[in-house]
């Protein structure tokens, strides 16, 4: 069955460092992959989308990679700030189907000042 894996343990880093979050998927060949941010008590907020033919996508301090051979996406936040503390969800999307994202459980990021 299709499976999405994100680190269940929280990632703790110091302010100013680069945070790297991992999303692995199995039995899947997504054409797209989205990343969302979720703060406690709020709905997820879209951050970035990357297509299968793109290796890397950047937006300000955010960078996403998509390795279809490894079946993995990495999400980087450079020069991290305490305000970046949140849960980050990856959401692979299959083409040729409903095109609806299937969400991972998310990884909590805590940036310490």
């Amino acid at each position: 069955s299709q499976k999405i894996e994100q680190n269940s343990e929280a990632l703790n880093i110091q302010e100013g460092k680069t945070a790297t979050l991992t999303c692995n998927y199995t039995n899947y060949s997504p054409a797209y992959l989205q990343w969302y941010r979720q703060d406690p008590g709020r709905g997820p907020v879209f951050l970035l989308l990357i297509r299968e033919n793109e290796k890397e996508k950047r937006k300000e301090r955010l960078k996403v990679t998509f390795d279809t051979t490894l079946k993995q996406s990495l999400f980087h936040i450079t020069a991290s700030q305490p305000a970046d503390s949140a849960t980050y969800l990856c959401a692979p999307i299959l083409s040729g189907g409903s095109y609806i994202p299937t969400f991972g459980r998310g990884t909590s990021l805590i940036v310490h000042p």
Binding site: V45, R51, P101
Partner: protein
């Protein structure tokens, strides 16, 4: 923020009672979705709609029904609530169905079934 509201925001009900959650959007987006989010499971799709009166089931649709009589409203009904339906429910909208269509989420409804 995208114009999405959910009502009620919090609800406590008893097992066996019917419950209806409402999602209202002002963006005129075609696609609307209902998810539930539980610890250890993440977001799971319940039902979605691709137009007025057009709906389809998601991953965890048993025990839920939906209706969409207007573009702006998408209702989720629990015909007879059970304790396993205690959860946080999120509505989402998107303009496009294709994978490039980002979803905009509402603030959520916390439902407790006693």
């Amino acid at each position: 923020d995208a114009g999405i509201t959910q009502s009620p925001r919090h609800k406590v009900t008893e097992t066996g009672t019917p419950v209806t959650l409402r999602c209202h959007q002002t963006e005129n987006h075609r696609y609307m979705y209902w998810y539930r989010q539980d610890p250890g499971h993440g977001l799971r799709l319940i039902h979605y709609s691709y137009g007025v009166k057009d709906t389809d089931k998601g991953e965890v649709s048993d025990g839920y029904s939906v209706s969409r009589s207007k573009t702006e409203d998408f209702l989720l009904t629990l015909e007879s609530a059970t304790s396993s339906q205690t959860s946080v429910y999120f509505c989402a909208i998107s303009e496009f169905r294709q994978g490039e269509g980002e979803q905009f989420f509402g603030p959520g409804t916390r439902l407790t079934v006693l």
